[in-house]
């Protein structure tokens, strides 16, 4: 594959001198823990707020919950540049589609637009995205589009480097038909556990609850994070 070979040689050519720290040459990545949960009447989404270049934290208050439309958000993980570019493209495509339709777009449509870009350019991109929102056809929905461009709907989904630490927590604590408050509690608890263990996740917890009535956003600061042990 010509493109892949060329990239490998270019990466070897750019030598890192001893004087410049590694974060001057590494790409910006959203390390990350992201999560989305469906409940009756909407979805709750959450993310940490750390963006890293190598070992340096480029932004400690990042907003990884990006609005794509009035009632549709995406949670971004992977390369910051790739996910920001894809989100911008899908926002444009979905906005155009919504105007053509003269109707609010479906979450499934947004998810398919993400999948289309992520799958077509799967060799060039490093993007793991969770699409979540509310529409009047199917209510609250969560779709996950991991690296590689798969698309699957799940009632609960976690993503990012910190997600590995909370699969067990999620499997044991998620129950179907939870209320919005229970979902917020679950998401903030899970994220704080992941942030504790994963070096690439941290900062503050950003939460959003999306339903027919609108989007409610909140921030849980570092000193207000749910505590699990005193160690």
């Amino acid at each position: 594959m010509a493109a892949a070979t060329a990239t490998r040689f270019c990466q070897q050519l750019s030598s890192v001198s001893d004087m410049s720290p590694d974060w001057t040459t590494k790409e910006v990545s959203t390390g990350t823990t992201i999560m989305a949960v469906e409940y009756e009447g909407g979805v709750v989404i959450g993310a940490d707020s750390r963006t890293t270049t190598g070992a340096y934290i480029a932004n400690r208050v990042t907003d990884k919950l990006t609005p794509i439309h009035d009632r549709i958000f995406c949670c971004r993980s992977g390369s910051a540049a790739d996910t920001q570019a894809i989100a911008d493209i899908v926002t444009y495509q979905l906005g155009f589609h919504s105007i053509e339709l003269d109707e609010a777009p479906l979450v499934q449509t947004a998810a398919n637009l993400f999948k289309a870009s992520c799958y077509r350019y799967r060799e060039e991109l490093m993007a793991g995205i969770i699409v979540a929102g509310w529409d009047k056809r199917r209510g609250g929905q969560v779709y996950t589009v991991p690296v590689g461009g798969m698309l699957v709907r799940q009632p609960v989904s976690v993503g990012g480097s910190g997600s590995t630490y909370i699969y067990g927590f999620m499997d044991s604590n998620y129950k179907p038909n939870m209320t919005k408050e229970q979902c917020l509690h679950l998401v903030s608890g899970a994220l704080s556990l992941a942030m504790e263990r994963d070096g690439s996740s941290g900062g503050v917890i950003r939460l959003a609850a999306i339903s027919e009535s609108g989007v409610e956003r909140q921030v849980i600061l570092g000193n207000q994070l749910p505590k699990w042990s005193t160690a």
């Binding site: 040689f9 410049s20 720290p21 390369s79 910051a80 060039e124």
Partner: protein, 278 residues
């Protein structure tokens, strides 16, 4: 899909990687002999920006390095984009310079087209879309700051095309020392003099604690009223004055022996060339 496209089609634009393999081999051969191939000049650099009560302040050092040699002791890293928008550039000097010039030109055309003064977010969007298209091969990290009709804004744009919007930012090899000054003393809605001192201190931290940054502090203050470009606002790293005389008087060293050997020289050829002194 890229994999199914015809691989033998010649590249129409963008970068050409034809010589990459040859260059890698040459690099390997040279390093065996103890040499290294010439590198693109990087600006080393400490650049910083903050949003204060009346607008934004951008700051930068003025050293440009060629590996471990200072190529330019007083270069300008704060570039003009629009009357109300300026941009600090770090990374590869040529990339930062040309990228900002292209943006300045695009923004002026766009502004003429819309009939409105440019927005900072427009510059950021055009920058990140261009840098993303080049997938990080254009090595310029930029801090874009300005005041437009929607207020004062500050963005950082990375070589791969990601951006962050924050009230204070630092970039370049000296970003670590500079951000620590900001994290300690930044407050929202600072007064002008406090804000100038803070940015000056952050750049000075970069100048003293980072080898890739040095020389003077440049500041650029952008407010609703206008722009103040303070070139060489502070010169913290001036050359020290010599304390004493280091010349020795003739006779300090005693002469023990003296041997004179005249060399016999014969004139082989004598020619006269007239100079044209017009």
């Amino acid at each position: 899909m890229l994999n199914t496209s015809r691989p033998c089609q010649p590249q129409s634009g963008g970068f050409s990687f034809e010589n990459s393999r040859r260059n890698a081999v040459l690099e390997g051969n040279l390093s065996e002999l103890g040499y290294s191939s010439p590198k693109a000049r990087k600006t080393g650099t400490t650049i910083a920006g903050i949003v204060f009560k009346d607008g934004v302040i951008l700051g930068a050092d003025t050293r440009a390095t060629d590996d471990m040699v200072v190529a330019d002791k007083n270069c300008m890293k704060i570039h003009y984009i629009a009357p109300n928008i300026y941009c600090c550039g770090a990374g590869v000097a040529a990339d930062a310079e040309v990228t900002t010039q292209m943006m300045s030109s695009n923004v002026e055309l766009h502004s003429l087209s819309t009939g409105r003064p440019p927005l900072v977010v427009t510059v950021t969007r055009q920058l990140k879309q261009m840098l993303f298209r080049y997938q990080g091969h254009i090595g310029s990290s930029l801090i874009v700051g300005g005041v437009d009709v929607t207020g004062a804004h500050l963005y950082s744009v990375y070589p791969h095309g990601s951006y962050d919007k924050l009230p204070f930012l630092t970039m370049g090899s000296g970003a670590g020392p500079a951000i620590s000054i900001f994290e300690d003393r930044f407050r929202p809605n600072m007064e002008l003099e406090d804000a100038k001192q803070l940015v000056r201190d952050a750049i000075v931290a970069g100048i003293f604690c980072d080898l890739g940054s040095g020389s003077n502090v440049d500041l650029c203050i952008i407010t609703q009223a206008g722009v103040q470009y303070l070139r060489a606002y502070d010169q913290p790293a001036q050359k020290g004055k010599k304390e004493g005389q280091y010349k020795y008087k003739p006779g300090t060293t005693a002469v023990l022996t003296k041997t004179v050997t005249p060399l016999p020289l014969d004139i082989v050829d004598e020619s006269v060339q007239l100079m044209d002194t017009q």
